[in-house]
Symmetry: C2
DNA sequence: CAAGATTCCAACCTGGACGTTGGAGATTCA
DNA sequence: TGAATCTCCAACGTCCAGGTTGGAATCTTG
């Protein structure tokens, strides 16, 4: 039988993403990842290095997917509500990313690939600042802080689901509940960032 | 020398809070907690049961402290900006609580003490709903979702510090940076919840 | 004071996780 | 074809964490 190393790598990384998402870096074992992929543990070390580097690889890949999806789907800043709703949608469909980000933050220290990611966010901030200058967005809030808060608006639901459940009495599982939450995010983003006549 | 069991308990719980905050349930070892407290590991099991119950004890205690502090310091809803700023202040001074909450959420499953906490939040939601009816607050957003978003507004900075650093270019460490962030939270809360004439 | 209960600790047991290794099957290329 | 290389895996070594136990020191109670 022929080798298929790309497929082996892909399956391992997929399994790693699943396990890290579910249990975090400390709660995940390399053995479980390998078992989930149906591949021997030694392949993990050979392809990805140790556990820490595997986690970084997974996180970078997921961030890449978000950036691509937003680049393809997000509307312009003149529709800041839908812009934020689009971020919400991504997180709703890929809840693993927020969890990975939270584990990264809780681990402390420098972020994975921090310099490149910071540069990426700085470009976003620059477009927000521009939109504030030309009146597309309300200029009441500092642009960087506005970007940060809008991300939070969309991601907070997925960051503390137990709190969302206790406060709203709903676990957000049904499509209807999700749409209500999304509508709320859209409205809130408009309140925060739309120009006030 | 006389025993001081209350002090022993207190030191163990304090050490457990420190370790759980820093490393999370999976990253924390019972041995390190005991070592940090300068007390034998066996006392942990005798006083608090196993690791899971110790974590729950710590989390419940920290939530209690937040509730007490807010009850004493938070202004009325007619000043929703300062109300939210007060939550921000608590988290800034006690960054361990958000971290504990995030670990709880990431662990999945039912929240610690979920029923009682849900009831507590429901009372808060009821006061928000009342304030919306009498015009103290804008009634554009569902009251439960508004409460949830305001909590997020205040806590998001401490939930993903690495993201805050990359987006804003500041780690929020100095008092001045913290005050700028607080001011932004206050303004944002007003945008979200103050009545629009 | 003496017997029993309580607090405390050093040492231990057991299981499991990280990371490695020796070698077997598959592939490539001279 | 056959030697070198690459992919893969079962089994292992080592370390460490969760949780327990036997017994010493201290307190309490009659």
């Amino acid at each position: 039988m022929a080798w298929d190393t790309q497929e082996t790598r892909r399956r391992l990384q997929q399994a790693a993403c699943t396990e890290f998402t579910a249990h975090g870096p400390d709660g995940t074992t390399m053995e479980r990842i390998a078992a989930l992929a149906g591949i021997n543990k030694e392949r993990l070390y050979n392809y990805f290095g140790d556990k820490r580097r595997l986690f970084e690889t997974v996180l970078i890949a997921e961030l890449e997917k978000l950036a691509i999806s937003l680049g393809a789907n997000a509307p312009g800043l003149e529709n800041i509500g839908e812009y934020t709703g689009c971020i919400f949608d991504y997180h709703a469909e890929h809840p693993q990313l927020v969890r990975l980000l939270l584990w990264e933050g809780l681990a402390g220290g420098a972020a994975v690939n921090e310099v490149a990611r910071a540069a990426h966010y700085q470009r976003t901030v620059a477009t927000f600042a521009e939109a504030q200058r030309d009146g597309t967005l309300c200029n009441d809030l500092d642009p960087a802080k506005l970007v940060f808060l809008l991300i939070g608006l969309a991601a907070w639901w997925f960051a503390v689901p137990q709190l969302a459940r206790m406060v709203t009495g709903s676990n957000g599982g049904t499509l209807q509940q999700r749409n209500l939450r999304r509508a709320c995010v859209v409205r809130a983003a408009q309140h925060l960032a739309s120009p006030h006549p």
